[in-house]
């Protein structure tokens, strides 16, 4: 299979043997295998030559599968167990959290934001750019009309955010019902379609990925929390993941996130496979 082998691109320069997965590549006999500490990976088929030494911890997968068939999200330098590249919520949302926090500050501190935007210090620190995407006008509205008139708005083209007084209760509130001192969370939303969103950002800056195209938020008829449904995968999630519920704390559980498939069955967001109700990946805690 030389057509897909890296040998086809070898022009004689000294070869970097540490390519995929941080494992040294062995080219003896032109086999092109990656020699991890615990077993050997066939780089052309993406399968291990030996069975998984920790087979019991991934019993739903073939013992020859590598990185849950997702070498972008996982690495497995020892050959025993794939590791995700950082916390599920962490790496993929870096930067987005900062943007949401900026929005949060602009809306909760409109006077300071506007003042900073037009001050020499503000220009120097590029704060004008921070607020000029759209929420500047909303912040100005806050100052002009008062906080009670405001619930959310447009962040920049295609992106919206909503101010809430709690993760779920905001949904049924109308503009004018929210008092800024009660604001506790920001929902930052990229509006790919009406009512869809990319992330829900909690007041503590935790960004919760929402399946692509999922619509919401909807509040429950009974109980508490919020839900986005009808999407599919994205942001490191398996395509079978169609919805997410962000649940408020109850007397036995803290705030948590629950990902689901189209049948409303709890799934592991990374694999899309149904899991036990006791499985911790079905109840991801949030701050």
């Amino acid at each position: 299979m030389s057509g897909i082998s890296d040998n086809a691109l070898n022009f004689g320069q000294p070869e970097n043997k540490y390519k995929y997965n941080g494992i040294e590549k062995e080219n003896e006999f032109e086999l092109g295998i990656y020699d991890a500490q615990l077993r050997e990976l066939d780089g052309q088929t993406g399968r291990w030559w030996q069975i998984d030494p920790k087979i019991e911890s991934m019993e739903m997968w073939s013992p020859y599968a590598s990185n849950y068939n997702n070498p972008i999200l996982y690495s497995d330098p020892l050959g025993d167990e794939p590791e995700c590249c950082g916390g599920f919520f962490v790496d993929i949302v870096d930067g987005f959290v900062d943007k949401a926090k900026s929005t949060w500050y602009a809306v909760t501190h409109p006077k300071e934001t506007i003042t900073n935007a037009f001050s020499a210090e503000g220009l120097k620190n590029n704060l004008l750019n921070t607020v000029s995407f759209g929420f500047y006008s909303d912040a100005k509205t806050l100052v002009t009309d008062g906080p009670g008139k405001f619930i959310g708005g447009k962040l920049f083209d295609g992106v919206a955010y909503v101010i809430t007084d709690g993760i779920a209760k905001n949904v049924k509130l109308k503009p004018g019902e929210v008092k800024i001192p009660e604001v506790k969370a920001v929902v930052a939303a990229e509006k790919k379609a009406a009512g869809s969103t990319d992330f829900v950002v909690t007041e503590n800056g935790t960004a919760i990925p929402v399946p692509n195209g999922a619509k919401g938020p909807t509040a429950p008829n009974k109980g508490s929390g919020m839900s986005y449904q009808g999407g599919s995968g994205g942001k490191g999630m398996d395509k079978k993941v169609t919805g997410v519920r962000i649940m408020d704390a109850n007397k036995n559980q803290g705030k948590r996130v629950n990902y689901m498939n189209k049948n409303g069955q709890t799934v592991n967001p990374q694999t899309g496979r149904t899991i036990s109700n006791k499985d911790k990946s079905g109840h991801i805690p949030i701050e």
Binding site: T218, P220, N221, K222, G223, S224, G225, S227, Q229, G230, R245, M247, N250, N252, Q253, N263, G264, Q265, T274, I275, S276, N277, K278, H283
Partner: protein
């Protein structure tokens, strides 16, 4: 909404789905996901999860029509069928969410 399950009246139990360690009862699009195993009450006896015939009797209710719903908060949800059988879900001493209920319109409840 005090009793979100009232919409189940006159619906038939269309399918019973066992998922890992919990259960889904589908009533033609209205789905009751039970995270604790319900009790099945037939005319001649009660069946719990550890009973050998539990799954059979649960599935024997498929296609039967609901005629009575009783929901007492923090106590019990009872789904009664025209033929006299009942499915009872205990809500006492719940350790977290016991029921996730969805409608074909996308509405939901968490008990």
């Amino acid at each position: 909404m005090e009793n979100p399950f009232i919409v189940l009246k006159d619906q038939q139990l269309s399918s019973v789905v066992f998922i890992q360690d919990y259960l889904q009862l589908d009533f033609d699009g209205y789905t009751v996901t039970c995270y604790d195993w319900p009790m099945v009450i037939l005319l001649d006896g009660k069946f719990a999860i550890n009973d050998k015939e539990y799954r059979n009797v649960l599935c024997s209710l498929i296609a039967k029509k609901v005629n009575e719903i009783s929901f007492i908060e923090d106590e019990m949800l009872s789904i009664g069928f025209q033929s006299g059988e009942k499915i009872e879900i205990n809500l006492k001493n719940a350790n977290g969410e016991v029921i996730y209920f969805t409608t074909p319109e996308g509405e939901w409840s968490s008990i």
